[in-house]
């Protein structure tokens, strides 16, 4: 089990390190209802609430490509205005995401 956690940790660290260099895909985890953004940073790191691999939830980022995901469900609302922000499931700070 601790190996699985180590894998998750590495995906999370490496994903965070590389994330800024990837564009925002048309269909992305950040636009999905099942995305749970981690609240430590506004860097778009998070995990999926429904996809579980080896008993652990999958690490994803707001710009992870979701074009192949069968569980993708587009979120109704996205907020990008940070002035009234409290950690909020609809908050997405990623530059390329539009408010809706």
């Amino acid at each position: 089990m601790s190996d699985d956690w180590a894998k998750l940790r590495d995906q999370f660290v490496m994903g965070g390190v590389q994330k800024g260099r990837q564009a925002m895909p048309e269909k992305a985890c950040g636009k999905c209802e099942h995305f749970r953004q981690h609240s430590a940073s506004a860097a778009g790191d998070g995990h999926c609430a429904v996809i579980v691999e080896n008993e652990l939830n999958k690490v994803v980022f707001d710009n992870t490509d979701a074009s192949q995901c069968s569980q993708y469900k587009e979120i109704d609302r996205i907020r990008t205005d940070t002035s009234e922000f409290m950690w909020d499931p609809t908050f997405r700070p990623q530059r390329q995401i539009e408010e809706k």
Partner: protein, 834 residues
């Protein structure tokens, strides 16, 4: 000195303004022209919500310079690379002198900038890249530079290296933000400073000590065949070298201000008085921090330089200080004895000293931006208290600081006052005046209790325990050679209410939809209160273990992965031993912050009463209602809301709280930090009671997902204390404030009308005496009425310096987002004497 135009409000008389309670207009009229200018020229660096204020931009000079030097010295040992990078910044960053300023030293190359430390954490870097508010113009160019810096640092930030080393399960869980807050990184911490060392030697004196140490080391390892234990000196030599590089560069940086002041004085300044000031600034910055200070203007300058220097090195998220204790002797000499400084001049300097602190800011991770909204860190300064021999430590500098605070009305720093029975009355009146004028500070700390507490938990000897300062907003730490904890990583902070959620859902996180805590059984089948209690105790112990495991590992690995040469250089212990500041060789001062703590006892009491005593509901019904976030169960929810609540002197619920406190305190002794000390609990909340509202699922105290949590560490829930302030104190006094907590935070709102005049002081004073006699360690007050707060929500421009106490810190009301503002308004206003 041309100040801003008089506003219409200023035309009212001082008496009229006093009567209206609009103390910010009073302050504007009372303060000197210089202070007025400096106060209005300052930039607000705290975030509102999680975005920075308009106009505030990230400074790119520091990251560019730091990166250049770090790249250029890649063959050096890590600690020396960091030292050289810092030195390169201090030698080259743009410096400036603001009109009318007397205290030098800015964090950043422009007054409106916040500093970015790209070497700390890859997520911070990506967070900045995503930010929509702080990227300087031209944006495209800035983004390109930021991307290049991110590319260089992300694979090797302190966090990247540290996360790969720490227990994998724990670090992933921490970073979700569901169970804890803060990061196990040396460059993000709360650093208590050891002023007796720095003021005694100055940096040149410390360098001389380092030189002697290096000479001795070289003697042992170069000039003879070393003994086995001597090989350690190879490592120590690098550390001493790095310390020395930073100390020398710090002196050069200060002297750049000296030169600039002299250039302006000799070539540009036409006002003879300002010219004289600039010459004095030039002399002061030449002298300190190189040599020990001898005057108040030198000691304040020394202090401020050190604070800025440490923040160039890293994000020091707190500002532990005891300015009346350390600057008091200089004040006394200059103002009372030698009369080289008038009281007014000392007040001006002190006011500016506060403003200079207020303007310090950096680009901060979201977790800190929104939980510390309105400010940039918990700059809580300690005043009052006792001397090492137990006599009253209040002095004229204490009064000067309190007076200056009323004039400049900054939200950071705030003060916490160490109250004891022998405290001098004139100072206590001054404290009260700050509270009455709505500053929200000083908070009151019960000195005898906290001294006993420091001795109980960390074995500090009495004399050293009496030297305590606030290491962050609440926890006392001696500022002595062996008592001084050089930094504290904030991530030993648990969101305690989650343990209740996990106990009810077998360790499953309802918000994240993930198994987090240990399996403690299906709560719908629990047949006794004791079963539920034990499930909760298992979960909270697991949370304490998880977070302290990460913090301990973070501290242990920091010397190697993330050393801090400058911070190390200003601790006598580190210089003596040749160790990095992360080396756990001090006496120790760890604690676990408990956010969202008091929901636990209230939830347990409600379940005990309605499920197990009265049997009105079953556990299965409760779990179903909670699973649905109480939706469709409103009548049932109201029963749980009406169940006995903390803060009403009701033993039914209070004794459950006391049991929870005692049990977590007992577990504190079972887990040890790297210095071998226990991890005592410290319940308090900053603004996390609002930000965590969407992270903690529905609870049996009647709370729904999204409802704000209780605001204090031992405060009753907003509006749930129905029996007046004495009942609140009686409930809170049932907690053992020495043996059950490291400290705990009590918020109270008082009625400003009731506390007017001399009578008001007497009423408050007798409340404070009762509070102290009951052995409660902390209380803080808001004394602004709801009419004013609501008016400020409507017309914020008319209430620029209206301050409120959040929890552990203060902020300007208009800098808070609406949800937090509403929580302040919702707190009960108490009438004392009821």
């Amino acid at each position: 000195m041309g100040g801003p135009k008089m506003s219409a409000v200023e035309m009212r008389s001082i008496e009229e303004i006093e009567k209206s309670g609009q103390w910010w207009w009073w302050a504007e009229q009372k303060r000197s022209k210089r202070l007025d200018y400096l106060r209005k020229a300052v930039w607000k660096k705290g975030a509102k919500g999680s975005g920075y204020q308009p106009g505030v931009k990230v400074d790119l000079e520091r990251p560019i310079l730091y990166t250049q030097a770090f790249q250029a010295n890649e063959h050096d040992p890590l600690i020396i690379r960091h030292a050289k990078a810092l030195a390169h910044v201090w030698d080259n960053i743009t410096i400036f002198i603001q009109d009318h300023a007397q205290i030098m030293g800015y964090l950043g190359s422009r007054p409106h900038t916040i500093v970015w430390h790209p070497e700390i954490l890859f997520l911070l870097n990506e967070d900045l890249y995503n930010d929509r508010t702080v990227i300087p113009e031209p944006e495209e160019r800035s983004l390109r530079i930021i991307r290049e810096i991110c590319d260089y640092w992300n694979p090797q930030t302190a966090g990247t290296k540290m996360f790969s080393k720490l227990p994998p399960e724990e670090i992933v869980k921490l970073m979700t933000g569901a169970i804890g807050w803060g990061l196990p990184i040396h460059r993000i911490g709360y650093c208590t400073k050891q002023w007796d060392y720095m003021f005694r030697l100055g940096f040149e004196g410390i360098i001389a000590e380092i030189d002697a140490k290096m000479a001795e080391a070289e003697e042992r390892i170069y000039r003879r065949v070393p003994e086995p234990e001597d090989y350690e000196y190879y490592k120590k030599l690098d550390i001493w070298k790095a310390m020395k590089i930073t100390l020398e560069a710090a002196v050069r940086w200060a002297r750049r201000y000296s030169r600039l002041a002299r250039i302006i004085a000799e070539n540009f300044e036409t006002d003879p008085q300002r010219k004289q000031e600039l010459e004095r600034i030039a002399e002061t910055c030449w002298k300190v921090p190189a040599r020990p200070p001898e005057h108040l203007w030198e000691s304040l300058q020394f202090d401020h330089f050190v604070q800025i220097l440490t923040r160039y090195e890293a994000c020091d998220g707190a500002w532990p200080a005891r300015p009346d204790y350390w600057h008091g002797p200089f004040y006394d000499k200059d103002v009372n004895q030698d009369k080289v400084l008038t009281k007014e001049e000392a007040l001006d300097l002190t006011g500016e000293f506060l403003i200079r602190c207020y303007e310090v800011g950096w680009f901060w991770l979201m977790l800190a931006r929104d939980t510390l909204q309105g400010i940039t860190g918990t700059w809580v300064w300690t005043l009052g208290g006792v001397n090492e021999d137990g006599t009253d430590a209040c002095n004229d500098m204490t009064d000067c600081l309190l007076e200056a605070a009323r004039l400049v009305r900054v939200a950071n720093p705030t003060f916490a006052f160490r109250y004891h029975p022998q405290v001098r009355m004139q100072t206590l009146r001054n404290v009260f005046e700050c509270i009455r004028q709505g500053l929200g500070y000083p908070s009151m700390r019960n000195d005898p209790i906290l001294i006993a507490n420091a001795m109980h938990w960390h074995r500090h000897p009495l004399k050293e325990a009496r030297r305590w300062v606030h290491q962050a907003c609440m926890s006392p730490c001696p500022d002595t050679k062996w008592g001084c904890q050089p930094f504290r990583m904030a991530n030993a902070t648990i969101i305690a209410a989650k343990a209740m959620e996990y106990a009810l859902f077998d360790g499953f996180d309802q918000v994240l939809q993930m198994q987090f805590g240990p399996h403690t059984g299906d709560a719908s089948k629990f047949e006794s209160f004791e079963e539920l209690y034990q499930a909760w105790y298992t979960q909270i112990k697991w949370m304490m273990d998880t977070l302290t495991k990460v913090t301990g590992a973070g501290r242990y690995n920091s010397s190697e992965l993330d050393p801090r040469p400058f911070l190390s250089a200003i601790y006598e212990r580190c210089v003596d031993l040749g160790v990095d500041s992360a080396h756990p060789s001090e006496r120790g001062n760890s604690w676990i912050t408990f956010f969202a703590w008091m929901e636990t006892g209230d939830s347990l009491a409600a379940v005990k009463k309605l499920v197990f005593d009265e049997r009105k509901y079953t556990m299965a019904q409760l779990i179903e209602a909670l699973r649905n976030n109480w939706e469709g169960y409103e009548e049932m929810r109201m029963d749980f809301v009406r169940a006995p609540k903390w803060g009403n002197d009701d033993d039914y619920v209070d004794q459950i709280h006391v049991r929870c406190h005692n049990d977590v305190a007992a577990h504190s002794w079972e887990i040890k930090d790297p210095t071998g000390n226990p991890w005592p609990p410290l319940p308090e909340n900053i603004a996390a009671y609002v930000t965590n509202a969407t992270k903690v699922w529905a609870l049996p105290n009647g709370r729904r997902l999204g409802d704000t949590l209780y605001d204090g560490g031992c405060s009753p829930g907003a509006g749930l204390d129905k029996k007046g302030p004495t009942a609140v104190l009686r409930s809170v006094a049932k907690i053992d404030h020495i043996g059950a907590v490291r400290a705990t935070l009590l918020n109270q709102r008082l009625n400003p009308t009731q506390l007017a005049g001399e009578k008001g002081f007497q009423i408050w004073h007798s409340y404070i005496k009762t509070w102290a006699d009951l052995g409660i360690d902390h209380v803080q007050f808001n004394m602004v009425d709801n009419e004013t707060l609501k008016a400020a929500q409507k017309e914020p421009e008319k209430y620029p310096e209206l301050i409120v106490r959040i929890a552990g810190y203060s902020a300007h009301f208009i800098d808070l987002n609406k949800k937090t503002q509403d929580t302040i308004i919702a707190r009960n206003v108490q009438s004392l004497g009821s």
